[in-house]
Amino acid sequence: MANETTTSNQAVHPADAPTIAREQLVLNNRSMAWITDRVCGIVENRQPLIWWVLFLPSVLLAGCLGFTLVYLVSTGVGIWGNNQPVAWGWAIVNFVFWIGIGHAGTLISAILFLTRQRWRTSVNRASEAMTLFAVVCAGIYPGFHVGRFWMVWFLAPVPNANAIWQNFKSPLLWDVFAVSTYFTVSVIFWYIGLIPDLATLRDRATSKIRKFCYGFFALGWRGANRHWRHYEMGYLLLAALSTPLVLSVHSVVSFDFATSIVPGWHTTIFPPYFVAGAVFGGFAMVLTLMLPARKLYGLEDMITPKHIDNMAKIILLTGTIVGYAYIMELFISYYGGNKYEADAFHLRIFSGPYTWAYKCMFFCNVIAPQIFWFHAARHNLWVVFIVCNFVNAGMWFERFVIIPTTLARDFLPGQWGYYAPTWVEGLMFAGTFGLFLSLFLLFVRFLPVIAVSEVKGVLPEADPHYPEWQELKKKRAASLNAEK
């Protein structure tokens, strides 16, 4: 990084070169003080009425989640609709759904950081928070799906009186490690990124309680360059660690299916297909949350049409990868010559009990995002918002297609069954949305939604050689005029 600014003066600052001019990341030439005020103001001022309108029902729904969990533990998993042959019902569908949503945050913060995509700065904080809350929602399902929740500690390899050890050869145990590592590392990444902004909130705090709370979590941050250089290296390393991690989590989740011998699951395309799907669904959820938040809190100058355009393009790309995976899966079931595999897909699409789910999935995930090929669609916020919600629904249908559809039609027709969720599962799923939204609204209320220190760093005047670039630009303009 030290070399970055010591390049020769002949180079042209990308922000200033007319031929290769990029769109500004922060519009209307906003100053650093404006950015601080605008983002910290969300936390410091009263929340708009709509915040309460969203928050109260969300908390109520989260309460329903608590109620269904208590009911479940006190009664038994029989109150769920899953049974043989469909032992993995909505519980696992929703687990995979939520964990998939929790992929965009770390992708934005880690992979886009490593690839030096500077536009990530204004969306990374909120997406990381969204990631954490989605993983919290996801974690509830397998935890309770084990049946006896009070035995959940047995997922961890601790010495016990029975001298029994976990089966480390099982993908289900890999999943435990993958998801808990992902959650822990995402929390660390998020918190480290928050420290400088917590210091900003601390320095602006007017009440003693605020000063204490933000000061406590800001760890006494002083913005010293002797700190920043270690901090930046640490952040870079975390990004480098999170990049393979984010790709591994959904791969490991897909192993739960792919390492089994069930027709329809036993395919090698699952890991990349799941990862692409997770990124796809995650970005859709980021946009679903950020489009209203940006409007509501006046963040249009920081989350610009350029950001939305970029994210829509990622949705288009990953959606197309997902479409490729669907079609390739289908092709292999024919070309592989395995009659069980071929039959599994025939039942999925044409003659099984859940063909409607396959059609919904295909439309929402493959066809709907194709509208993002058009510039006008990517710049119409209503179109973006609606397509993102199609994707959110489509990704849920994808997991539904993979799990109950496959289990309901096993090798032996005598084992075939049908699965429908009960009201408890329905309320639980709604409850996780309540929990997710309440956590996100609390995050908006108490923490800076935009990484203030990072956005300041991408302003043109943040570059210590900015005046020299300006000088150069003037000279060049003058010489061009002289030539004319």
Binding site: A2, M32, T36, P157, D203, S242
Partner: protein
């Protein structure tokens, strides 16, 4: 240029000077001057990491990466030891047709990978806290209102009195000639 002290009648020992600058560029050139003047106990405080200022301050690469490598190696070996010891020695069970010996290793890769990442991430946090000497909730610099603008849009340079080159008059002159817009003398206690 205006001068002030945090409180004129303060009798506690002097911590040092805090000077503010207009822009990242001004701070960058000031840092070069302070570096060339031979100061050692000084720092710049900025709202975001100013790229290239490490060079202007004469700082090298951060070796936090070495600690993290150590964390990664620990995680990898702990994971392999845990899995081999429990699956091969303590509780060998043949499931899914997978053997219980060295050939089982492919089935151990995912957990090994996850623990490597996990302990590396812990190493990042541990190393950061140690390298930065944080958390430290109190610091003499926080006594200065001028200093506290660093988290908004202030570009601050602080020179500590502990530096052997520090002198009340000359250091102030140096900061002034480097283009400081405000200079404040900070005491150990408010």
């Amino acid at each position: 240029m205006s001068d002030s002290t945090s409180s004129p009648s303060n009798s506690s020992p002097v911590f040092g000077y805090v000077a503010s600058f207009d822009s990242a560029a001004a701070l960058y050139h000031a840092a070069e001057k302070v570096r060339d003047a031979g100061f050692k106990r000084w720092d710049v405080h900025t709202p975001y990491p100013v790229h290239g200022i490490d060079h202007a301050m004469g700082l090298g690469k951060s070796w936090i990466s070495a600690v993290v490598l150590g964390g990664g190696i620990t995680g990898c070996s702990v994971a392999l030891a845990l899995q081999f010891f429990t699956q091969v020695n303590l509780y060998p069970t043949v499931v899914q047709g997978k053997p219980t010996n060295l050939s089982t290793i492919p089935a151990f890769f995912p957990v090994t990978f996850e623990l490597t990442i996990l302990l590396s991430a812990f190493a990042v946090v541990g190393a950061l806290l140690i390298f930065l000497a944080l958390p430290r909730w109190n610091h003499p610099l926080f006594n200065s209102a001028l200093f506290n603008t660093f988290s908004d849009d202030g570009f601050i340079l602080a020179i500590e009195a502990r530096d052997p080159k520090f002198s009340r008059e000359q250091t102030r002159e140096l900061l002034g000639s480097a283009g400081a817009t405000n200079i404040e003398l900070v005491h150990e206690d408010a």
